[in-house]
Structures are given as structure tokens and as C-alpha cells.
Symmetry: C2
Subunit: 397 residues, 2 copies
């Protein structure tokens, strides 16, 4: 029995475990310290009442023979796919229900979609990045190259016509940098992909944080339906990180190697997946009710307000950053040229504030740092006051 030897090549990520260990040690040594965590990448507000009401009703349906639901369609119920068709119509994007696949989350689909592609493909991944793009391709043994995201391009790398890539990851709004591509920039990526028959895997998990004219779907870009698959999720949109629902759009006309990717993904999902719980799909559909939309928009506004409080602090301190406007993340340049982990220790010890070292997301993350807006509003404000006082004193005094 031969195992998949590529697993031996995956680097263990110690980012969040090291953060946790350092915070634990500091707390033990300083039991009086009032630590504020701005490193958390998970939502904290509860599910809105429209979603809970829909799930209660669905549980009741499941408890009665006449309304009980057994196996559903692997690709999701029509009621949820139709709600998403309408949601996309609101973005000016026309989709057919069969182009939408409901799943248990974007993370699953971003990994599982690779089943459809040969190992002999070159994958282009931005650096810094959400580690899952890299690890899932290492597991398959694909060649990975990186697109440098850095201060000079505002952490929004653009295509280089001399780079040969077959599969391209784009995450906008970006995790961890919070940077968002505009339409012109995304158009350049779509044109690049079309020119070489490459495929874009577009991670739109944070699209609900975008205000104004920036693209919230790759399909708002002409030509994207011929070169892109889009992944999205209710996790950050509606607080579903522990409730698990996402969706993937595979355009009907998208072909590579003479095969329709939509049919391939349907085959993959009907063979290796059995759909999302009926109860959860009913909850997800309630997100699109008028009441649900109002409630989730309130939650997003709450997080965005936290982001703006942090962003304002950075501006006031003259610290370079991305994100904070259309994203729950603020990606800042460590003051005084500090390295990421040094700044982590400095903030923890001097302000009792916890963030995430940027170097944990890739080599270009060194000397950068991520703060998140998913915390409590009052605590976030308190944390920024402490940061302001500390940095003004040490660096801008």
C-alpha cells in the first residue's frame, strides 16, 4: 500500500498555536493583565433571529413524517439556489440555478475543486495568503509559484505576462491583507487567464464587506464566465462559521480540455458529497429574506465600524496599512521596521493587545501585522486607545 507521499512535504503551520502559547504564557506570568484579542479570525456576533427562526421551523419539519426530508440534492435545494440567483442578479450577474453548488463551506470546495485538475499544472498563489491554497496543492504535488504582494503594489499583485500559470488564486477582499481589487485590476487578471486558457479560482468569502463600486463577484468582469470559478460562504456574511454553508459557482460554459467543468464538479459532488443539512439550507435561505438582510447588514456594519476604528488609529499614527474599509482585516506595517513576531511581543507586553504576525502568511508578510474587526466594539476601541498611546510614546513622541 503506497501512501500519498506529498503529505510529507506539507509544512506544519505553527502560527495560531504559537500565538495561543505566547498569550497563555504571558497571562500566567501576568494574571492581572487585561488582554484584548484582535487576532481572532472568527465571527463573534450570534446568528440573527431570521436565521434562527428558519432553523427552528426546519427542525420541526424534520420531526414530522409528512414534512421530513431525507437525502436532498447533493448540489443543494432549489429554494437556496434560487435565492442566490436573485442575489447575483442584484450584482448585475446572471446565473442559472445549475451553475450554483451549495456546500458546507468555501474551505471544503477550495480544496475539493482540485480533484478536477491534473497534477501537472502550475499554480499561482499570492504571497501573503490564506495557507489553504498552498497546502491543498502540496497535497497533490502541484508546482506552486507566488505572485508577490507588497507595499509597492498595495498588496494587490497584477499579472505578469512572462509568468506561466495554469491555475490562479485570487482572494478579494483579501485574507490576510484586506486589500480589494477594483474592476480594472480584475479585468487584467481575467484577460491574462483567457489569453493562456488558465483558470481563476476566485475566493469571495469577504464580498459582503464591500461598499461602493468595487467588484463583489468576478463575474462582474467581462469574460470571467469563460475562465473563473467563484467560491463564497455564509461564514463571514451571516456568522455561519459554526453553522457551515457556502456555495461555488461553476459557469455552464466553462470548458477546459474539452470537458465542461460544471459537469465535472457535479459528478465530483454527487459522488463524494451528500449535500448540506436541510436545516442549515433553510437558515441560509433566510439570510436573503428582507428581515434577514436587514439583520446581517447590521452585524456587518458593526464589524466594519470596528475596522474603521482601527483604521483611523493607524492613520492618526501615520502607520501604512491596507484593508479596514471593505474588509474586516487591517494589515499594517510594523512601526520602526520591527519584524512581525517582535511587534507581536511588543504589543502583547506593552499594550496587552493580541494580533497576528504577518510573517505567518508568507515571506512577504514579514514586518507586517494583521488586526481583525470581529471583536467587541468597546474592547476594540479600548485596544486602539492603548496602541495609540504606546506607539505615540515610543515612535512618534
Amino acid at each position: 500500500m503506497k501512501i500519498n507521499g506529498n503529505y510529507a512535504n506539507i509544512q506544519q503551520s505553527y502560527l495560531f498555536s504559537t500565538v495561543a502559547a505566547k498569550v497563555k504564557q504571558y497571562s500566567q506570568e501576568h494574571p492581572q493583565a487585561d488582554i484584548i484579542k484582535l487576532g481572532i479570525g472568527d465571527v463573534t456576533l450570534p446568528l440573527c433571529s431570521a436565521v434562527c427562526d428558519a432553523m427552528h421551523a426546519a427542525v420541526d419539519e424534520m420531526g414530522v413524517q409528512e414534512t421530513f426530508k431525507g437525502y436532498g440534492p447533493e448540489q443543494g435545494y432549489g429554494f437556496l439556489k434560487e435565492a442566490l440567483v436573485s442575489y447575483y442578479a442584484g450584482k448585475g450577474v446572471t446565473l442559472m440555478p445549475d451553475e450554483i453548488f451549495i456546500s458546507d463551506g468555501a474551505k471544503s470546495d477550495l480544496g475539493n475543486i482540485l480533484d478536477l485538475f491534473d497534477r501537472d499544472n502550475t499554480v499561482l498563489v499570492p504571497d501573503p495568503v490564506y495557507p489553504v491554497y498552498v497546502d491543498t496543492n502540496i497535497m497533490d504535488g502541484r508546482r506552486i509559484i507566488f505572485a508577490d504582494a507588497n507595499e509597492s503594489n498595495g498588496f494587490l499583485p497584477m499579472p505578469d505576462k512572462d509568468t506561466d500559470a495554469d491555475i490562479i488564486y485570487i482572494c478579494s477582499p483579501n485574507n490576510p491583507t484586506g486589500a480589494v481589487y477594483n474592476k480594472q485590476q480584475l479585468k487584467a487578471w481575467v484577460d491574462y487567464a483567457l489569453a493562456r486558457q488558465a483558470l481563476i479560482l476566485f475566493d469571495a468569502a469577504y464580498e459582503a464587506f464591500i461598499s461602493g463600486d468595487l467588484p463583489t463577484s468576478i463575474y462582474q468582469i467581462e469574460g470571467a464566465q469563460e475562465c473563473a470559478i467563484e467560491f463564497c460562504s455564509f461564514s463571514k456574511t451571516a456568522g455561519f462559521t459554526g453553522t457551515r454553508c457556502g456555495y461555488t459557482v461553476v459557469p455552464a460554459g466553462l470548458e477546459r480540455g474539452g470537458m465542461k467543468l460544471n459537469k465535472m464538479w457535479l459528478r465530483r459532488q454527487t459522488t463524494k458529497f451528500n449535500g448540506v443539512p436541510y436545516i442549515v439550507q433553510k437558515g441560509a435561505a433566510a439570510v436573503f429574506s428582507p428581515e434577514g438582510q436587514k439583520q446581517i447588514r447590521q452585524n456587518i456594519a458593526y464589524y466594519k465600524n470596528n475596522a474603521q476604528v482601527i483604521a483611523r488609529t493607524m492613520r492618526e499614527l501615520g502607520i501604512w496599512f491596507t484593508g479596514g474599509e471593505n474588509s474586516p482585516y487591517i494589515w499594517l506595517k510594523c512601526p520602526g521596521g520591527m519584524k512581525s513576531w517582535d511587534f507581536f511581543d511588543y504589543l502583547l507586553e506593552k499594550a496587552n493587545v493580541v494580533g497576528t504576525p504577518g510573517s505567518g502568511f508568507g515571506k512577504n508578510g514579514e514586518c507586517f501585522f494583521r488586526l481583525t474587526a470581529f471583536g467587541d466594539a468597546g474592547r476594540t476601541l479600548e485596544a486602539t486607545e492603548r496602541i495609540k498611546k504606546l506607539i505615540k510614546n515610543d515612535f512618534r513622541g
Copy 2:
């Protein structure tokens, strides 16, 4: 961009769609016909009240900030893993919580586990069989060989020492045949796997239908912890086909190629999966409460009674069959040497009863036929009365 060309080799299964089309056509041509479906492979009884109560409580928790749950452990909550440790202890099997991985169902895990294995392995699959074992391996391009299940071995093929297999699928109680291996038979498979360092993928999805002394877990067999991964599900145990929860056991000591498969699977799941909804895990845990056990046992007894009604009919008619005792499936030999699809048409037209042609599950299924016990008790009895009358008249008259 190169796609995974193996997808072109997967045969489209028309089994259930052809059954549906034939039934639809017959209904249209005979609108007065009172058709009884004994072909359904899905549960029909609603979720029990212990499960619904637990899910209602969990929805309430999700709606309040203090008890809201975001990301949970990808491999499942401790409360559910501990409940399963106790459940296995009741079978005489000692497991550690870290050996259990909660998932959205056995189908997902049976497909996804293949990520851990090289493509260069020979896979041994019984014929007839649940089609997913074959399709998922074709997707990866593995060599597949078959173990012949037939009347002479009671549809329970035994290992052949001259067969070189690296990965071995065993499903007991079997879908579609309902046949169940005894301990001695499973021991022969474990010994075969140990002797050649092969790996058994043991599908125990129907274990809850077993009464008496037959093994309900491969780990009841000595040595299995060194050669087997077990997949199980709440789908048929507790009616979770539309609620989605299963679990996979990967023993801590199980190694191949110098790698611990438990660590590999943990890495796979933490990278490509984000766990099962908290609400669903709370529902699944309630299955193990005293009230939950009582309620699900009642439901299983209901289905098993249906199975016995069908089995009794076959015995009375002198028709050879497997299953029906420790399984919701009855796998019968078509009377008069009829082929599977001919018997399907015959039963539909002459008795207005729908079943599933055995030939749809593999070449050895030809001339066999599957009836299932998941229907209504009264309708199942009515169907057997019709079958009895018809076959007595045509074949035993």
C-alpha cells in the same frame, strides 16, 4: 490547464434515473395504478424527538452571544466523540477520542480518504457493490479489481491469497445484498490485509441493523486496528440522511509507508474541511442519550419488521435471498431465471411494485433484485401480498 482526464472514464449510472423514468411512464399510462415503492434507499421515519429537542436547544444557543459557537474543531466536538467512545466501548472496542473524526457523512469520507493514498495502488471491490467505491477510484485513476459475490458464497466473497490488493473495500451489512460477515470471515480478511500490509476500508453504515452475535465493527476483530479504517454514519441509524452526520475511525497506531494515517487524515480534514454544524453535532449526540437510544431503536425495529415481512414472503415462495435479518435490504434471485430488468418490468406491470434491478450494482447482480424495508409498514405488507399472489400464480402454481 490540464484537467483530470480520469473523469472521462467514469460511467454514468442510469440505474435510479431509469427506474424513475419507467415508473413515471407506467403511471402516466395507468393513472389508476396504486404503485408501491420498495426500491427506496432512503429513510422515511422522521427524526426522533430527542434529536429534535437537542437541535432546537442548539439553535437557541447559536442565537445568543454568550453561547454562540463559531468555528468548531474540524474533527468534531469532544462531546460527540466521547459519546462515540462509549458507544464503541459497548461493542467491546476501546477507542481514544482522537481516533474518531466527525464528518458530514460516510459518503464524503469514503471518497475523501483516497486523498491519502497514492494512485499506484490496486483496489479490491466486491461485485455487486455501492457504486461510490468504484467511481471514486476511477476519478483517481487507480487499478480496480473485483471480488465476486454470488449465490455460492452467499454474496460474501472471501480473500483469495493469490489476489494482490492494496486497498480493500468491505461493506457489512452489505448494500445492496444485505449479507453480513461473521467474525471468522472478517478475521480472514484482517489476516489477509495484515499479511500483505494492505488496508481495509470498512463501511459500517448499516451496523445498527445487526442483532445477535455478528460483528458491528471491524475493530471487534483482532488485528484490525493495524489494518483498517472504519466509516459509519447516523443516516440509517437515526434517520440523518438529510441532516448529515457521520464518523470515521482511524486508529492511532495505523501506519503505512512510515506515516501515521491518523495524522494524515487529521491534516487532510483540517486543511480541506471545517467541521459539521454545531447544531447537527448536538442532534447526533442526543442519539446516545437513553431517550434517544430508545427512540432510534424503535425506528430500526420498524424497518426491521418490514424486512422480515419481505423475507418471510421470499421464504414462503421458495425464492433464494440474502439480507432481511440484519439489514434493511432483501437481495433476491429473480424467479424463473429472469433477468433483473425483466423482473423489474414484470413486478411493476403485474403487481405495481417497484424495486431495484440488481444488475445496476455490478455484473454479478444480474438476475438479482433488491427490495428495501424503508417504506410504510402497511404498504410493505400490501406489496408482499401482491408479490406472493403473482409469483405463486406464475411460478409456483
